[in-house]
Symmetry: D2
Subunit: 328 residues, 4 copies
């Protein structure tokens, strides 16, 4: 694959794009899943740059919502949501480096109906929440179970949605903080950006020794913004390859695929997420593609693209991207 050979991962990664050993991170190997991104858990796996990890992820509810008659408020308990595989210790990683995660495949696992979406009290993009704290009555709770195969997602009797899976929550540990896996931030986490799927490489700034990679929360599909707060959540088998780029100071997660490079900002209000994403993208164009800072500002004004990941998590996430064809 040509574009991969020219990717930042293949050019600058310690493994130079070569595929290392494969590690199975099964439910049994993982044992207890984690609900924070942080440095206080013991690694479940130690890998070398270039190694491949095949991980069995839970859905965001750890499988607790089984029937459409289930009550989220009875079965789900904060902060024990969005269980994560990891931490995966990456040999040689240090603060100031970058972890590259190439996503090979995401496959649904478990018994049908595998998929779950739900309306949860005081959570979602079109309701009052714990932060946008209002006096209105909450919407009624609702759980919807869906059949998912790689051929499609049966939304209802009329509508099938294409299977376009991605990793909702992926990233590395902060240096000394341990933050809920519900939150996206500069270390990645719950960004819920659909571009983080097979065929893309995600990059994260390393903040501590061995990086400590976490992942979970796969979605079979998701609209921009993840409007009600719950995409089509599913347990999955995820195959990723992890590499390490030494001495590569970046401030926020980045992503590349065959067509574009993208920077990912997470913040509230939403305009701050957009500002972060676009500024990080400008920094990238300046540092790696030789652009003048203001010329890049001008150019993104005319040709930049924005993807809204989530408008529901503790911070909202947007990705700002530019086609690679403009950068050569």
């Amino acid at each position: 694959m040509t574009w991969f050979n020219n990717s930042w991962m293949a050019r600058k990664g310690v493994a130079r794009g070569a595929r290392g050993k494969e590690h199975l991170l099964s439910e049994a190997v993982q044992g207890k899943y984690h609900y924070v991104y942080g440095p206080y858990a013991d690694p479940v796996l130690r890998i070398a740059p270039g190694d491949v990890v095949v991980a069995e992820t839970h859905d965001a509810f750890e499988g607790k919502l089984r029937r459409e008659s289930d009550s989220p408020s009875e079965l789900l308990h904060m902060p024990f949501l969005n269980p994560q595989c990891g931490p995966i210790a990456v040999d040689g990683a240090e603060k100031g480096d970058v972890i590259a995660v190439r996503i090979h495949s995401i496959k649904p696992r478990g018994e049908q109906p595998i998929g779950t979406t739900a309306i949860i009290r005081e959570f979602g993009g079109l309701v009052g929440t714990g932060h946008t704290a209002l006096l209105n009555e909450p919407l009624p709770e609702r759980v919807k179970k869906l059949k998912i195969t790689e051929e499609g997602i049966t939304f209802n009797s009329r509508i099938t949605i294409p299977y376009e899976p991605f990793i909702g929550t992926l990233g590395v540990s902060p240096e000394i903080e341990a933050v809920s896996s519900l939150q996206p931030d500069y270390w990645g986490g719950n960004m819920d950006v659909p571009d983080v799927g097979p065929g893309s490489i995600a990059y994260f700034p390393v903040h501590r020794k061995e990086a400590y990679v976490y992942l979970g929360d796969c979605h079979a599909a998701q609209g921009d913004g993840e409007l009600c707060g719950v995409a089509i959540e599913m347990p999955a088998v995820v195959t990723i390859q992890i590499d390490l780029i030494k001495n590569a100071p970046i401030n926020w997660p980045r992503l590349e695929n065959e067509r574009f490079i993208m920077a990912l900002g997470s913040a509230r209000p939403m305009e701050d997420a957009a500002r972060i994403a676009y500024r990080e993208l400008i920094d990238w164009m300046v540092a790696d593609y030789g652009w003048d800072r203001l010329e890049a500002y001008f150019f993104l004004t005319q040709a930049g693209r924005v993807r809204l990941g989530n408008m529901v998590d503790p911070k909202y996430t947007l990705g700002a991207s530019i086609l690679k064809s403009y950068l050569v």
Copy 2:
């Protein structure tokens, strides 16, 4: 064109999609251009539903930035920016109706270099502004002139951007307010959403007798967010067909094209623009396509798309859309 025959405009418009008389709204006919959307100006044209208008628009700077050495702060004076053609009085329009604007074509006019972009003091998405009022020094002013043809926009010696023109500012008059043409709102205005181009139909809620349609501010191309605040601005010849849908209460502008329907929200902070757009889209799905409200909320969570128009104007504009293929 099949999709047009099934459009809201063709099905419900007074003209039933038929093409009426053609009116030339030349610079001479327009005379003085306007800087507000409001009811206090006299119509420059009176048309019947179904009529076509060919309008000569100025660029957002009314042609005052001619050379790259020009100083925006010396030549531009608030509030006399973003000059608009209109108002066009539409026969029979009353509060509670909808104006449909089908965009046929947008062609650059004038002498090369036709296009202008600029960095303007305290304006733009990555700088302190009059509202995000800071103590940092402003960026240096800069003007960039570009050659535009229908084959492409010469950004610099290496890069040509496709010609993807649209109407940056389009809408109708508020009932009793007269608001700067720099602002987007529920009546349309300066939304700066690239989907408002040839091949689309935009819909606006009517607030006063004869609607009073305004338009201007064409862009030869624009990235999501219009990052520095100034797209590739150009004077243009715009051909639109205007129809009237009686008794059609909508709250915010809407748009349709061959592929999708979209609702357009404008507000600050940006999440409110997204909320408005998605709620208006749900209202549309419920009223015209028979969806249950919560089912639509669930579905947009999985399949909705968001386009960021601008993150620089007095209100930010986002469009939320859903493919028509899901609605049948």
Copy 3:
């Protein structure tokens, strides 16, 4: 009154603090009240700098909510809310000047119960609104009528609130815009800041010939933020003295009283209103009190005060102030 003699109004106003002619702006003189701040209405009064105006204002509902059983959604119709007295033409005022409004007194008028507060659908600080557009059901409508005298406001059988009246909506016309009297902005308008009461002088930047002063929307009392969106609204007799300061470029409304000077910012999100207010206050300290810009920034960090006016109007308003005792 010593402080008044040292006020900006008395020192720099055309009238030098002297009291001119008194004008009665009764309901009869006013005739039709206005719902926008703009230049398109004819003046109801022409005055000289220093003149006093005694105005009869309506409450924000123009008296339409008479009984607690009244339904706001049936009786109130946008945009015909918040009726204003004016415009008052001030002789000699031009763009770039400042209008000073010294508030002498505000007295309730009309039959008891004079006061009205209400819960209105999709309006208020703790509910979803037209901008924070949500799917939650609105709160039930409610109207509360209250007896108001200058001795106090009978909130209920147990509680009397002190009579602390102020002018909710006060300002001048924009240059070419005509904007709803529900909105606060750089020209003043619906700021709903309790400091704009007897004993204070408010200052507004002039944007057009004769300034065109508007006022209305008196409140007998109000908490910070005007939480449900409706303070204790009352019709009133307002006595103000208007003066003119020539060539005094300010960007946002300002206020002074015996104790402090305050700058007033209006924007969304709320942090932008705070930024505007503090930056305008720094500009004031630099221009009129000889402070270094960064020293003022340091000092307001330690001694600045913020008053939240409203968190419910189209823009939120905050006042940032500093004690005069620190400025000498």
Copy 4:
């Protein structure tokens, strides 16, 4: 002190207001200070409800800014800022309880000039930051050292600011998260609200066994909003009494003093912090003072007060309060 006997702490605390044992939490006892609020550190002290703790706190920079010529960017390193005393384990505390912290005194300690304020790159209320990510150049760095005594703070040769000390950062551990001491949230933390000073009692919802109380970051004085991001920071000797209220579900920090009760919300954008604070205050009025929910909403509209704590930290903090005289 009558009001204290009627306080929530004295009425409902396990110690019923009685003063227990006194513990010295000196620098030596504390040893290593902490930079996160979390459950992963070992307690430095175990106390019983009612006990008094005398703690030696560092300033927010751990004393690293000694001279006005010091460079913050060279001497300060994220995330090792805002060092905290603690955690203090409170015997018997469990999730669902409340920790009450009565603040007895705050005294400056160390050698003059004890106080420090500073302008730090990309931090502060009137500059672009890491979140409001802009392209403008940062302000120049600046450090200002100030003499502090209990008689006053020498701001400069002309101005002395009253000594009005408070605890900038105070709270309890989240359940499984460990979050930077720079951030305020539902567990307290870096709220920077000047009311958290001698004569007040602060309340925090307990999230884990023994609560784990942290404190630090004393300010000798601060304006509303902590505008430049750095108040008058000082090392201090803090005397607090800690009590435990069993089974008292609250969602956000609260505070009471002789005059009022206050709820404290932290969020971005700022309006969400205001919404949280006011909703929590309504919940308090309903639960403990017998108010009807909508009547409380009405009443706070007329008599509520808002204090802006900070507009600079990762979340902004506002306190909403109501006079106790209205509640009886």
